[in-house]
Point group: C2
Chain length 205, copies 2
């Protein structure tokens, strides 16, 4: 679980693109993308603004890279779950679980992604990919309702958005340090699939 053991690069030692991205993303999430200046990023690395531009082409590239890392993780999860030979309700539950885990693994990148509002072309493209992911989940809900095993009385798009909303809301309070992404994934899927209520008088038919 440590670094891939840096292969000892050539040239003058110092920061690389990944270090800049990491610093940038940290600040983006602390204060917001717009409220983070290139000077802030440079300062947090102990170098000057012009040095930052040696590693990247501009502020927007940092945003782009962060969004891509988040989206790639989500679609990997979707692909893996799609390949499973299981009933739709099981696949749905697995995808929800995996989404939580992706969010935990790539926490800072996902957080950046979820705060983007579509102000530039790059952001709009990312929003489109997010919508594609939503559609995958919606279709899975639809299948699960058709196969039985998931309540059919709520519009599948609404179900997908509410569940993903619950997942995404983790960026507001989950902190990777606090460990136990699995525990939270468990709590979340339990609430989503079994509900909070206990006792009698449940199944109303």
């Amino acid at each position: 679980m440590t670094r891939p053991a840096a292969p000892r690069r050539r040239g003058r030692p110092g920061h690389d693109q990944d270090a800049v991205l990491a610093a940038a993303v940290r600040l983006f999430n602390e204060r917001g993308y717009d409220a983070t200046s290139m000077f802030d990023i440079a300062e947090s690395l102990g170098i000057t603004k012009s040095s930052v531009y040696h590693h990247i082409s501009g502020k927007e590239q940092l945003l782009q890279m962060a969004m891509d890392r988040a989206l790639d993780g989500l679609f990997e999860a979707a692909d893996e779950v799609r390949a499973l030979d299981l009933p739709a309700p099981e696949r749905l539950e697995r995808l929800v679980r995996r989404s939580v885990l992706v969010l935990a693994e790539r926490f800072e990148y996902v957080t950046v992604l979820l705060r983007v509002r579509g102000n530039t072309e790059a952001e709009q493209h990312a929003l489109a990919r997010r919508r594609d992911f939503d559609t995958i989940v919606t279709d899975l809900v639809k299948q699960a309702q058709a196969e039985g095993g998931v309540r059919p009385d709520i519009d599948p798009a609404t179900v997908a958005r509410l569940i993903l909303g619950m997942v995404n809301s983790l960026t507001e309070w989950y902190r990777p340090r606090s460990g136990g992404a699995e525990a939270i994934a468990g709590a979340l899927t339990t609430i989503a699939f079994e509900g909070l209520r206990t006792g009698e008088g449940l199944r109303t038919e």
Copy 2:
């Protein structure tokens, strides 16, 4: 359901503070607070930037007013529910429902509130009030678990955050035009309290 019938004000006709706030909040939610300039707000009202400053003291005041309107609505809901003479699980469900309705009624203000990251003192104060609201819900979950009726096997703070996360995620896709805040409140509370799963093999004890 119409305006309170403007009492015909004195002086030159035109926009007032509320109009400026409305325009500002609309833009804040479209592009984000930082990405919205005072010029943008002025332009959307058909007046100049200096005219905007006739109505308000500065950009931050607009943010402050928006956050306050959202928070006041939430605490009103909490107060009303607290006064009810009902078992805790019922009160919890009502508060969740009411929160959805407040979010729908004061949609744009709540959206502004939920995007704030604490960059200024005013924002930090708003975040503190949000945390107070979270605590109210957490305590209610705790009570509901103690009284029975809500599953006791998940940490109450986690329950509160997940449920509120689902509620708050409505700002991402709910649009007041699309009507039916009650329908969404119903779908959300159904998922949260009854769960998605149907069929047999549920209650594992």
